[in-house]
Structures are given as C-alpha cells and as structure tokens.
C-alpha cells in the first residue's frame, strides 16, 4: 500500500519527471501518425493496384500473343474451379501516342491495352475510374454527346459537342487556307504563263498555252486532299462508311476501324459526323497538372474527349513494323496511380487485334478470384499447368508489383525502427531522471527500510513510478497521435495557411486528401512498447534503490 501512496505522491510532487516522458509522448504520437499515413497510402495504393491489375495474370512473352487462348481458358476454368469469378483476355503492346496541340505534336510513350468491354469489368475496377458517368456504368468506345466529369468544374466541354465545334472550326480554317492557296496557285500559273509566253515569243513557238490550263482544274477537283497534314484528311483511307447513324450505334467504332475496303479509300472522313476507333487515355497522358497564379491546383488538357490522337504501335508477325492509326479519345482514365495514369491507354481488343493482324490472339488472360481465395495457391496450380517452355508467365498482382510493395514495406519498417529509437532515447532520459530522483530520495529509502520495508518493496515504488509515467506518456502520446490522424487534413490545411507551403501537394500525389488507416493493434503495440521502454529505463534506478544500505541512506543529509 505504501508503494502506491509514495508512488502517487512522488508523481504528484515531481512534475519535472513528466518532462522526461514528453519525448515518449512525441515518439508514440509520431509512430502512430506515420504508421496510419503509411498504412493509408499503402492500402489505397494496393487497392488501386489490385483493382487495376486483377488477381492473377497469365501473360505470354510472344509478341504475337497466344492464338489458342480458348484452350487455355478452358484449362484455367478447370484448375481454378470455384475460385474463379471473372476471366478476360487482353492485348497489350508498347506504343506511342501523338497529340496534336495547337499545331505542335506532343508524343508520349504509352502502354496500349486492348480490352474486352464485356468481361473486363468483371476482373478490374477499370470503369470505376472513367470520367463519364455512363461509361462508369458500362464502358463504350463510342464518343458520348457530352456530360463528361460532371463533378469537376474545370473540365472543358467534351464529347460530340466539342468534336463538332472543332470540326467546323477546322473546316472553316481549311476553306480559308484553300482560298489562299488557290489564289497563290493562280498567281504562279499566271506568272508561268507569262514566262512561257515570253519564251515562246522569244523562241517563236506558240504551243504551250493549252496544257498550262490543266493543273488548275485538277487542283479544284482534288480539294479533299489539299492538306495531307491535317488528321482527318490523312486518316480518310481507314475511315469507313459509317454515317451519322453510327453515333447511336455503340459498336460502331470497331466497325469503322476495320473497314479498309478499296472503295472507301476515296471517301472523305467527316469529323463532324464520324469518329475513329475509341481510345480511353490515362488522364496524365492528355493533361498536365499545375498551380495557377492564385495557387490553386489546375489541370490543363492538351486533348479532351472528342479529339483525335495518333497512335504508333508494332504490328504482329516476325518482322514487326510500326503502325500508325488514328483514334478518337472517348474518355479519360484516372486511377490516381500516377504511373498508370501516365501510361495506360485502352482500346477495344478487336480493333487492336485487327490493326496488328494477330487474328484473335491475346497477350494475357486476367483472372478475378472469389473474395478470400488463396491467390498464391491458384497461381502455383496454374504454374504447374503452364511450364516455362510454353513462354507463359503466371503471376499474382502482388508478384507484378512486388518491388514496389517491398519498397514500401521496407520504408515502413525503417521508419518504425527509427521512431522506436527515438523512444529508446527517451528511455535514457527517463533513466537519468530516475537516477536523480533515487539519489534525491536516498533518505526516504533509508527511512522506509528502517520501518521494515523490503528491498523489493522499495524497488517497486520506483518501478511503479516508471510504469505510471510510461503509461501516462504513451497514453497521452497515443491520444495525441489519434487526434492528429483524425484531423490530419485540416492540420495540413492550417499549416499551409500559416507557412504558405503546400504540405500535401495534390500535383504530386493525386490524392485530394491524405489517406489514413488506424489499425488498433498497431496503436496497442506502439503504446505497450513505449511503456515497456519506460519500465526498462526505471529498472536500473529501482535496483539501485533496493540495494541501498539503510544506514548509509539514513546518514545521508
């Protein structure tokens, strides 16, 4: 009983000892904050990755893909059994996209992915990240009339509305240009005629006047090809018989893209009425994020749904050649994983297979397994079925992102070690403070021993003191940390306002707010660890107190 009494008394009369646990407090708070934020980031990142990558991917190394994939699919269904809930086939190739922006070409290196509209949503969260609300429901590679990204004010008016406006604008520009060129043409011809006439007059022959009239007629008839550098004109050979009806027709684009019959070649592609095959671009491919004069985060779009882009990608076959095709941007894809947003571009799998001339071969088969299924077990069973000599690779999404996940894990571990070292340093502070308190209390220790208190009893006063201080420090630290985590975004906002420095820069992270997850077990472990350190730090002074000779202690003045 006296232990509790004295322990409590010492605590009440020695507030300075609380100073020694401030560092424990800070250490615990920091540990909880850092872990929550790291967990938040990791979980968010993993969720996104997982959602995008599907559970298990069977990939081929062959550029020509796997032509016999239905056989594989059959096998996979048999092997995965009940675990399988979704399966889709994908074609992906490295590609380059060229965006025409104010007469300049912006080129980006991309990962061109051909997906099957119907089954892709079964394995991936892909559609969740599209901007048009209807595309989120059911992805379509047909351009929508308008209504993209209704939740963001800055997003420019896109879709057919934008496309028609641009097409009309370009047509007018073209007409004006043509007028200009015709004028120039006439001028040059006039000059030539004059020159020829002059020559003829000099040489004495009058034969040249008739052929000179022909070029002007030709030019007038061939107005459609006057400016090959404009996209619509250039692309016309690929353009199809699709008309205004195709707008309502969702599978129109794929039909468009495939139509390369000779009689179409002469047809003029009408950008006002028609679209190329649809492409969904990762949002960072077509836009850049910056801070305007006021300091707000703003997106600038080089291209928007309704515009056309040119994509260069390799053909299939033993001698791949670069293919150049036009696509119409039908939506943006924003997963907020900057790596994906900057490289992924999705087109219809059929279109891509057709362009590349790979029949219905695919590059990979992606599987979605039932919730709670053992991914590694399924992967291993599949690996056994598809040995390396088949040039097939079976991986889970974790395997694919292994390096990144391991790096994040490593980072978390190192941070935890460092922060725990801080608490350990705090432990030495407690040790020093406690030694001083024991020295200060030498007389009291002598008195207690003269009254019959045992060494263990005296030691437990100081041990209890350590436990109480540690618990206090860790408890306050834990509460402070949790409160901080709960209000982390407003705190970041306040810090921004005070310092003028962006704490959490959305231009970098693509998250609007700082994601946090608090694992109760983590909080408990951190708190217990800190208390343990405080207790360990008070063990030495306690032993010293227990060993103290009562007579020495009593003579101490």
């Amino acid at each position: 009983m006296y232990r509790w009494l004295l322990c409590w008394r010492y605590l009440r009369t020695r507030y300075i000892a609380l100073a020694s646990v401030v560092s424990v407090m800070l250490g615990v708070a920091t540990l909880i904050i850092v872990n929550s934020v790291m967990d938040g980031f990791t979980t968010e990142m993993q969720e996104r990755m997982h959602g995008i990558l599907s559970d298990v991917v069977i990939e081929t190394h062959s550029a020509n893909g796997m032509p016999n994939h239905p056989v594989f699919e059959e096998k996979i269904r048999k092997i995965a059994g009940d675990d399988l809930v979704g399966l889709t086939t994908v074609v992906h190739v490295p590609a380059m996209v060229a965006i025409d922006h104010r007469g300049e070409n912006i080129t980006r290196q991309i990962n061109l992915i051909g997906i099957d509209m119907d089954s892709y949503a079964d394995v991936s969260d892909f559609s969740k990240y599209l901007l048009h609300p209807e595309n989120r429901e059911q992805i379509s590679f047909a351009l929508r009339e308008s209504g993209y990204a209704p939740d963001r004010e800055q997003f420019p008016e896109s879709g057919w509305v934008h496309r028609r406006r641009m097409a009309q604008f370009k047509k007018r520009m073209r007409e004006m240009q043509r007028q200009l060129e015709l004028e120039q043409e006439r001028n040059t011809r006039l000059r030539e005629e004059i020159d020829q006439a002059a020559q003829a007059a000099v040489s004495g022959h009058g034969l040249v006047s008739a052929p000179a009239a022909e070029p002007s007629e030709e030019l007038a008839a061939d107005h459609g090809l006057a400016f090959p550098e404009t996209p619509e004109q250039f692309a016309s050979p690929v353009a199809s018989e699709s008309t205004t009806d195709a707008l309502a027709d969702t599978d129109g684009p794929s039909v468009n893209a495939l139509a390369t019959r000779p009689e179409d070649v002469a047809r003029v592609f009408d950008a006002e009425q028609e679209q190329h095959a649809g492409i969904v671009l990762g949002i960072s491919i077509g836009s850049t994020r910056y801070r305007n004069e006021v300091g707000d985060v703003t997106d600038y779009y080089y291209v928007q749904p309704g515009d056309d882009v040119q994509v260069t990608f390799p053909s299939a076959g033993s001698m791949p050649t670069a293919l150049n095709e036009y696509f119409t941007v039908v939506d943006f894809y924003e997963s907020k994983m900057s790596e994906y947003d900057a490289t992924f571009a999705f087109v219809d799998i059929g279109v891509l297979q057709q362009f590349r001339g790979m029949q219905d071969a695919v590059s990979s088969i992606q599987l979605k397994l039932r919730e709670g299924a053992d991914l590694n077990a399924v992967r291993d069973r599949l690996r056994a079925e598809f040995p390396p000599e088949m040039m097939l690779q079976v991986n889970t999404w974790r395997d694919l992102q292994g390096a990144l996940l391991a790096a994040v894990q490593m980072e978390t571990t190192i941070l935890n070690i460092l922060l725990f070292l801080i608490i350990a340093v705090a432990g030495f502070g407690i040790l020093a403070t406690f030694f001083m308190i024991v020295v200060e209390k030498t007389k009291d220790i002598g008195i207690l021993k003269s009254l019959g208190a045992s060494g263990a009893g005296v030691a437990s006063i100081f041990l209890g003191y350590g436990v109480l201080l540690g618990a206090f420090g860790a408890g306050v630290g834990a509460v402070a940390g949790l409160v901080f985590v709960a209000n982390i975004n407003s705190i970041a906002g306040a810090l921004e306002a005070v310092t003028g420095q962006e704490v959490f820069d959305p231009t970098v992270y693509y998250f609007e707010t700082i994601p946090t997850i608090v694992h109760p077990a983590m909080v408990v472990w951190v708190t217990l660890g800190a208390i343990m350190i405080a207790v360990m730090a008070s063990v030495l002074p306690s032993i010293r107190a227990a060993r103290m000779h009562p007579v020495e202690a009593l003579r101490y003045e």
């Binding site: 010492y10 008195i447 207690l448 019959g452 208190a453 045992s454 009562p550 009593l554």
Partner: protein, 271 residues
C-alpha cells in the same frame, strides 16, 4: 510529574491485539507488546560486538568488543562523546547494519544473523526507531507517516481490510503524543518538537516491545527536549515500553533508569 497530566488525553489506543482479535480496545497500557524476556528480564543483549568501517582500504574500528544489556520495561541511556560509536551501536541493535563479530539477542532470540526478510519483519513489528533528525517522509502528512509501518506490515489488501482500525489507532496515537491538531500537516509545516512527536507515534503504531532512540532531543531546545523526554518517560511507565536512548547529555542520562557509557568502542562503566 505535573506536566504529565497536561499532555495525557485519556483515550484508549487500540493495540495490535485489538486489531487482530477485533475485541474492544483496552487501555493504552497496551502500547507495547509484551515480550518473553528470558535471562531475568533482559530484553536486549549484545555480546562482544565488533564493527569497523572501511574507508579507502583504511580500517576505522568503531566498536571493539562492546557488550550491552537493556532490561525490559526500563529506559536505558547510552552515553558517549560524539563519534564514540553510539549511533553505530544503535544501528546494530536495530538490525539496520550487521556487526563484524558478536551476537545480539532480543528476548532470548538471536537477531543479528537473521535473513534479510526476517530482519525487515523484526524492524517492522518488534521495533520502533526515532532519530535526531526525525526522519519523517517529507512528501506525506504526519498522519500518513504514522500509517506507514502498518501499510508495510499489512500489504495492500490487509491494509484495505483493516483500514478503519489502523486509522483509528494512528489517530489515537497522534492524539496521545499531542498532535491531534496537526494530523494532516506535512513535516515541513511542523516544528521540531512536533516532528519528533509524529516520529514517536510512527515508531509505536505497530505496538513494538522496544523503542530505539538516537539522540531524540539532540536537535531541539532544552524545553522542547524535556517535553519529548517526558513523553518517552510516560510511555515507558504506562505501558512498560522498553526504551534504549542514545545521548551525549549527562543530564538526560540521569533521568533514565540505567546508563551505559561508551568510550573507545567499549562499555566503560554502568551507573
């Protein structure tokens, strides 16, 4: 003896037996616990005690074959000059320190070679000690200081169970030593005399048979010192409490039943 009636409030102090039996408390004669005094009334006896302090390989002999006897119910004074080893002897008698050689008997039982645990128990329940510098714990009140030995003795649950009786006895003892108006004061709010009274109450709370006092009046003016001596005398008379008191003051020694002179590490003569 006129001052006796002044400081004596007639209240019954529950003794240790009361606490255990739960019987109604009887008179304060029972402050001290009766102990078997085997060799004809001799409560405390020391034979040929040797004690030396080692200081940087230098041996400083303090006690060189010191014999000592204190009879039960008497007040024995140990007289000697400063530095003659009185405190050292008292610490040995109180098992706070162990002699280099020699034996100490309490009620016929040898106590100098007891285990650490038994010695703690002995100090706690058979022995009360007071000092020149009072040695109260500065952090807690006079009342809590008095409670300490009982808290140590009973442990947490025992204390909780007997809390009422223990508090009652402590309060009565403080009243008996004349401190009823200073129960909840910290030591630093008390005068020297009051602190020594609190220390006496604390020494007696566990109903010991023996009180060891190391110059209890050494830090007090004569008048206050006399009051303290008077109090000790009364306690000795009323309850046959055996007291061994160290002093360097002849006058004080004369008021005791027996005097032992300590010089050159030995007992010189008995008076």
């Amino acid at each position: 003896m006129s001052s006796v009636s002044e400081v004596r409030p007639r209240r019954r102090i529950p003794s240790e037996q009361d606490l255990q039996s739960g019987l109604p408390a009887y008179d304060m004669l029972e402050i001290a616990r009766p102990v078997d005094t085997k060799p004809e009334g001799c409560l405390l006896e020391a034979k040929q005690l040797f004690k030396a302090y080692r200081k940087n390989r230098h041996e400083v002999p303090v006690l060189k074959g010191c014999d000592f006897q204190a009879r039960a119910g008497e007040m024995t004074a140990i007289l000697g000059q400063s530095g003659s080893g009185k405190s050292t002897l008292l610490h040995l008698l109180g098992t706070l320190d162990a002699p280099d050689a020699g034996e100490i008997y309490f009620g016929g039982e040898r106590i100098d070679n007891l285990s650490r645990r038994r010695r703690d128990q002995f100090r706690n329940s058979k022995l009360g000690m007071i000092f020149q510098f009072y040695h109260l714990l500065p952090e807690v009140t006079a009342f809590q200081n008095v409670l300490l030995p009982m808290m140590i003795q009973e442990g947490f649950w025992g204390y909780v169970r007997k809390r009422k009786q223990i508090h009652e006895r402590s309060r009565c003892l403080l009243e008996r030593v004349g401190l009823s108006h200073r129960l909840h004061h910290r030591p630093r709010e008390l005068s020297g005399g009051e602190m020594q009274r609190a220390a006496i109450a604390r020494a007696l709370v566990a109903s010991p048979a023996l009180l060891l006092a190391d110059e209890p009046t050494g830090n007090l003016d004569r008048a206050t010192g006399n009051q303290i001596l008077q109090l000790l005398r009364e306690l000795n008379h009323e309850s046959k409490l055996t007291i061994v008191m160290v002093t360097h003051d002849e006058q004080i020694a004369q008021r005791c039943d027996a005097t032992i002179r300590l010089a050159d590490g030995r007992i010189q003569a008995e008076g």
